[in-house]
Symmetry: C2
Amino acid sequence: MDLTVRAAELDAADPLARLRAEFDLPPGTVYLDGNSLGAPPRRVADQMGRVVREQWGGRLIRSWSEGWWEAPQRVGERIAPLIGAVPGQVVVADSTSVNIFKALVAAVRLAPGRREILVDAATFPTDGYIASSVAELTGTVLRAVDVDELPTALGERTAVALLNHVDYRTGRLHDMAAVTELVHAAGARVVWDLCHSVGVLPIALDALGVDLAVGCTYKFLNGGPGAPAFLYVRRDLQETFDQPLSGWGGHREPFAMAPDYVPAEGVERARCGTPDILSLLALESALEVWDGVALADVRAKGLSLTGFFIECVDELLPPGTVEVLTPRDERRGHQVSLRHEAAEAVMTELIKREVIGDFRAPNVLRFGFAPLYVTYADALHAARVLADIVTTA
Amino acid sequence: MDLTVRAAELDAADPLARLRAEFDLPPGTVYLDGNSLGAPPRRVADQMGRVVREQWGGRLIRSWSEGWWEAPQRVGERIAPLIGAVPGQVVVADSTSVNIFKALVAAVRLAPGRREILVDAATFPTDGYIASSVAELTGTVLRAVDVDELPTALGERTAVALLNHVDYRTGRLHDMAAVTELVHAAGARVVWDLCHSVGVLPIALDALGVDLAVGCTYKFLNGGPGAPAFLYVRRDLQETFDQPLSGWGGHREPFAMAPDYVPAEGVERARCGTPDILSLLALESALEVWDGVALADVRAKGLSLTGFFIECVDELLPPGTVEVLTPRDERRGHQVSLRHEAAEAVMTELIKREVIGDFRAPNVLRFGFAPLYVTYADALHAARVLADIVTTA
């Protein structure tokens, strides 16, 4: 069947199609970089105006006791169902990097005697940078391993393994259930980085017994540029979760201004400083678009969209022009990575023509497909423009 | 002279009076808590709408290369003149607590062999909590000392002293020049916490040779609730500034996605994760109100306002009703702290009558006087309402 007709039929049958109208996107732009920065839900701009005028300006300091102080937990509870967590296990605070630091130090402290930290060799760099710092501070050794080599790498020395659920470069999705089981079988803790999987597919942290997880909120959750990240601490680990960024925000009685630090009883102890309210409330507003959205539908559309894009690439680009790095089976997130020798120039030209993906050195074209606002027609259009560029270049 | 007349004359002669119109404050409210949460400059609400619609929605991912990525340094340069720093020494990122962590660990690493951290015994609690964690992680010892006892406490063991420029509880201003000299004479480093002094008086970090400084931006700088904090690293210390939150934001080539962490050459190495753009740009907009404002004028008005308020308290309250904890000479910031046995109930009643200060346990009434938007008439009104409450209670 003709690809144009296919795209139209798929869009017409899309149960998530209504959500596109929730987002503010420039007309004529095909936006395939929601895996790097999600598009703004329309409601956010007005909400920010209200927060500044009514909460900050109108109520001033009183707003701290009218919902601001609890925002890290309240927004965490909005994320909890997206990662399979019952209430009381998620806070939103600080950046992903900072939360990785908290989680890794706490994990090392949970395992005295175990002196090795394993990190996914293909990890997004910041995870490895932070892990290296944690190793230096805690007197442990950092080892980078391929996820497929975990079975032999894990052992009695392993304190914790820090892993990316979806590889940021290739889009490969790891098997969280199997890997978590492997790590636990070695008596170690696992920290999952969900940056590229939250908002992509159903995640079952509680059901899989995951120990700790972090993730950003500005990709598929559309929380805004650099929006605060989340940290999940499994309920039964909270009492012994001893994180080093012991700011007053994590204190049991923050307003008692006590001289000694006593961590809060629950996941609030994962907080650190004064919460960044403007960004937190922008994120809270952005998360409202998920109300009533079934992650199973999101996942189905994401696989279908990325599959359709790969099919268009196969059909429209001359054979051998690009190499599809992303798994063609279901072991992928919602991005498609293509290898092309002149990837950087190709992406520059794509963006010039309003097809926005991104480039990852040295030769990767990345296209993210956010099921809430990307259509099959977008995917086809992107493949056509790409085909035009790589054949005429 | 009659206090009402005095207040009117002082307001009429106030060179900063025009700035009040820059702020969005509810009519009828006397806001004396700008030392906890500054009032919103009017321009911020509209600017936030523009940032969300035009930069995030309109330019999407492209905005990262159109001013977002450099925002931590750019906003830092707006703060630099307020703290006496030439360009290239300030970044805005993360919270005060997180920046204290970076600064203290880096300071300890600058002084191998020196195993003691000194912290102001009257410090805002989060500083002490973080210092305690740093001591644990770095194998150093934390010692709380009164600032007046520093001459005997400092010694060959001291790696670093962490001090508050203005005491958050009493409002006492410490002598930065003399104390910095003392700490340096002992061969140690000083980290100044400027939360309660930035935007209050001229600060001369460069001229005094201060090593490191942190400060928040949501008090007298009016950056918004939980706005990101700043960190100053003196130019000649930057090359050896080795901070433990080595996220990709501080990498020399963040977009090269290199496997190993190599810190940026300048103060950018004090960054960590992805910068929180919405909050950073709200702060940037808020800082515009300082354009053309002389800190000497701000300081003169702040001393005069707080002095006038103390005079009103002396005159209007029956003797012995409250005790003025804040120094009556110039060794104070722009807050006045009063001790009253029923401080919490008194503050509740004040706020009910739209005179907004705050309460600090166990018995302190705090009133902050932000010279950009507080008037002498406000100060007099607050003292009259306070007198009415404490005499009729």
